[in-house]
């Protein structure tokens, strides 16, 4: 049904006592807030070790690509830090009392950079494109509750009957059933309007040569090296336009070199956060105090097993792997940064269950017993390939996990790949046996934290990384997705307990982002919805 995906690389975090989802991220200047005279001009530089996956809103699942897409494209609504939803391209919207009809009124005069109008038809086109099976969008499940969408997605209809555009500035969505988070979906990358002419002309290349309508536009993208976005002079909202002239992304440098550059003032923001190897020394150095920003976010780091293929289709094998893991060692390896967790829903998101213990103790004997129960000779186990992203702390965590599993009899091979490769591999179902990844809840709703990863329909969409397929749990989650949040929470809590008892994951920790930001840069914040909001940045 819905898919909320934001895959991220883990980073190092400071153990924040009492981690709450206080998404009051720093000095975020939200759209709509009263602004003092903020200086315009200048260029900010951000470093990233891995390249962006795609700039096509219909195809993106990772937070980094999403952050640039948010700068290039406009939604009907957007999120403020804290998760509140405010108008953006829409001047207002209404929801029918039965929750089945959403009517958006679109501001006039918005244009794409190629001159095409951003109107009701453009939003209808963008959302239909996400539903279109030919696009192969990982977000295709998001809008399946719109009337006519299932038929359209199955190829049985030419358009989505539930999306209507009575005139150029009005778009109406009719839903099959009430969906609490429909408005959130409209605000995600999959809800972006895209220019039909440019998309048709560019085809698959649109992901590298996007044409948008946002506060920035793409100037250059040299894959693996550099990406530059510049202020869009045609952006429709002069009051909310970008302040910077451009943002330059330096791609591919080693993280330690990027840190040195940042310390010397040559780059403004470390996109991959403070390298784990250097966090202790940077954090304890008073010189860097104005640079270090600690931002709590609603995210999990976990090991996932593909239950659809051997050897992890056997629950005893999964449980054996679970007990072989030393969670305290993992936390030690990420330099003690990150709060341990024993569940799927992060703190601060409704449905987080404080009765579930956050830590578990390694139990090698039990792990070995379970492997024997699964049919392996005592002391032996299956061979499997563990997928990990190749930037810190991935390889270090992978080697620790490999040793912990080999100790009980598994024979683990590590496959270490760039993050963008990992994202495409793990969202294509048959390719991965198990691995480690992080998942950000793009908005504070359990649909984002749990439904999007454990409902059966998400397998096809690629974000049910565990290939988890339990009819009873699925029914529970789907039912809860339609209810008001206070009625839904008990259902989510029950579903989560069942899921955890099946061992599709080994939950490890929740993250706090350790950012390194040059104090000359104002407007910096980090949030779950857009990651970095480049339009807010300015040079002091």
């Amino acid at each position: 049904m819905r898919l909320l995906s934001t895959l991220r690389r883990p980073a190092t975090y400071v153990a924040a006592a009492g981690l709450t989802l206080a998404m009051v991220g720093g000095s975020a200047a939200a759209h709509g807030a009263v602004k003092r005279a903020i200086p315009n001009g200048g260029t900010a530089t951000v470093t990233f070790q891995s390249d962006f996956n795609t700039l096509d809103p219909a195809l993106s699942t990772d937070v980094y690509s999403n952050s640039v897409i948010h700068a290039l494209f406009v939604n009907l609504v957007e999120f403020e830090p804290g998760g509140k939803i405010v108008p953006w391209a829409a001047s207002s919207w209404t929801v029918a009392p039965n929750g089945l009809t959403y009517t958006f009124h679109i501001k006039p005069g918005i244009q794409f950079t190629d001159g095409e109008p951003v109107n009701a038809q453009a939003f209808a086109y963008g959302i239909e494109r996400v539903l279109n099976p030919a696009t192969k969008s990982p977000g295709s499940n998001y809008f399946l509750d719109v009337v006519g969408a299932p038929q359209f997605a199955a190829g049985k209809a030419k358009t989505v009957s539930g999306i209507s555009t009575p005139n150029a500035s009005t778009i109406v969505f009719h839903l099959i059933k009430p969906e609490r988070v429909f408005i959130d979906y409209v605000g995600l990358q999959y809800g972006d309007a895209v220019p039909a002419k440019a998309v048709t002309k560019e085809g698959a290349n649109f992901a590298h040569q996007p044409v948008g309508d946002g506060p920035f536009m793409l100037q250059t993208w040299v894959p693996g090296q550099k990406l530059v976005i510049v202020k869009n002079p045609k952006y429709f909202d002069k009051a909310q336009a970008a302040h910077l002239n451009s943002v330059v992304f330096q791609i591919g440098g080693q993280s330690e070199v990027s840190l040195l550059k940042a310390e010397q003032g040559q780059v403004d923001v470390l996109g991959d956060l403070i390298p784990p190897a250097d966090f202790a020394s940077v954090d304890s150095n008073p010189k860097w105090k104005p640079y270090v920003n600690l931002d709590p976010i609603a995210a999990d780091e976990f090991i996932y097993f593909d239950e659809g293929k051997a050897p992890f289709n056997n629950m005893d094998v999964r449980e054996a792997a679970y007990w072989a893991i030393d969670q305290s060692r993992i936390l030690q390896l990420v330099a003690g940064q990150g709060a341990p967790t024993g569940q799927i829903i992060p703190p601060g998101v409704p449905g987080h269950d404080s009765s579930i213990p956050n830590t578990f103790k390694q139990n090698v004997a039990l792990a070995k017993q379970l492997l024997v129960k699964a049919g392996y000779k005592a002391g032996t186990g299956p061979a499997a390939t563990f997928w990990v992203f190749n930037t810190a702390p991935g390889p270090v965590l992978a080697q620790a996990i490999q040793q912990e599993l080999d100790q009980v009899g598994f024979k683990i091979t590590i496959k270490s790949v760039p993050f963008s490769t990992l994202v495409s591999q793990i969202t294509q179902i048959p390719n991965v046996q198990f691995g480690i990844i992080g998942w950000v809840s793009q908005y504070p709703d359990p649909v984002s934290s749990i439904s999007s990863m454990f409902e059966t329909a998400r397998i096809k969409a690629g974000t049910d990384l565990a290939d988890y397929n339990n009819a009873a749990v699925n029914a529970q989650l789907v039912k809860a997705d339609a209810l008001a949040i206070n009625k839904a929470v008990p259902l989510y809590e029950a579903a989560q307990k069942t899921i955890l008892s099946n061992y599709p994951w080994v939950p490890l920790y929740n993250q706090v982002e350790a950012n390194f930001v040059n104090p000359r840069l104002g407007g910096f914040s980090q949030d779950d919805s857009y990651w970095f909001d480049y339009a807010n940045w300015y040079i002091k």
Binding site: Q254, P275, A277
Partner: protein, 303 residues
């Protein structure tokens, strides 16, 4: 018939002592007189000893990730009593990994070197001896292959085949034969017109026999020299492959991947890069000195 055979036999045996008499001393004596050459010999000898016996000297298992191998904040431990060269980011003993890694790195480099020298000898001898079409084909092939950036070629091969130790050895062997092949070809070309080859040919010896029994033994000294010199190339290339992640895979220790991991900790834990770096430097230095010494010992005219 019998008379002719005897004469042919006498002719065939003649030239072998040529080089040894030149200069009036044996090659070993010339070699021994050079302090640099002896240094090279000692270094290489030490490295080979470490490769052979190092694992028995290692204080710990190189794969064990120790609980106390990391500080409370999860950082690697600097050199100290328990871990003489410190620990790596997974809490493993660097000294033990270095000792085991020497075997891995040297082993790969030696095997790759042997295979590449074999290829170089075959191709170089054929090209130099037959000349003409064969020479042109082989040399143009060498030119084309030499113009391909080796890391790119290796990277491509590593994605096509899963990187196992065997594949790594073959990849390195495949890119390390160009220069020795040229040198051997040059020497064989010069030998082709020498008397002993002409007479053997006149006696009706087949090309194969001439190559195997006359030509190759004559260049064997040269082959030994360039095998040694080429070794520094193969060891560096092994480490380069591991450094960029397509060589020896962790957790198996190897100088290249230890240096790669250490590069992330350049400022926070410099011992991770320093010790494997020193080992690599000593290996390259040792084999270069040894190779230079051998070259001077066999043929002091080429100095």
């Amino acid at each position: 018939m019998a008379l002719n055979a005897d004469v042919a036999g006498a002719q065939e045996r003649a030239p072998v002592a040529d080089l040894e008499v030149r200069g009036g001393h044996t090659p070993w004596q010339r070699f021994r007189r050079s302090p640099l050459a002896m240094t090279g010999l000692v270094l290489c000898g030490l490295l080979i000893l470490v490769a052979a016996f190092g694992p028995f000297l290692a204080p710990h298992n190189p794969y064990t990730q120790f609980q106390n191998g990391l500080t409370l904040e999860g950082a690697p431990v600097p050199p100290g009593k328990l871990f003489p060269l410190g620990t790596d980011p997974n809490g493993r003993d660097v000294l033990s990994r270095l000792l085991y890694g020497t075997r891995v790195s040297l082993g790969i480099a030696i095997f790759a070197n042997l295979i590449s020298i074999a290829i170089a000898t075959v191709l170089g001898s054929l090209a130099g001896y037959f000349g003409g079409v064969v020479d042109t084909l082989v040399m143009r092939l060498t030119d084309v292959l030499q113009s391909v950036p080796v890391l790119l070629l290796a990277g491509f091969a590593a994605t096509v085949f899963r990187p196992s130790i065997t594949i790594i050895i073959l990849i390195i062997a495949f890119v390390a034969w160009y220069y020795p092949a040229r040198v051997i070809r040059g020497e064989v070309l010069a030998l082709r017109h020498r008397d002993f080859v002409q007479s053997a040919r006149a006696m009706g010896a087949s090309n194969g026999r001439i190559l195997l029994k006359h030509v190759v033994p004559q260049v064997s000294g040269l082959i030994a020299v360039y095998a040694t010199l080429n070794f520094s190339y193969t060891i560096l290339f092994t480490s380069a492959l591991s450094f960029i992640g397509i060589g020896v895979q962790p957790p198996t220790p190897d100088w290249g991947n230890m240096i790669a991991q250490g590069s992330e900790y350049m400022t926070a834990a410099p011992w991770l890069m320093i010790f494997p770096g020193i080992a690599l430097g000593l290996a390259v230095l040792g084999f270069n000195l040894l190779g230079d010494g051998l070259r001077d010992a066999y043929d002091p005219r080429s100095r």
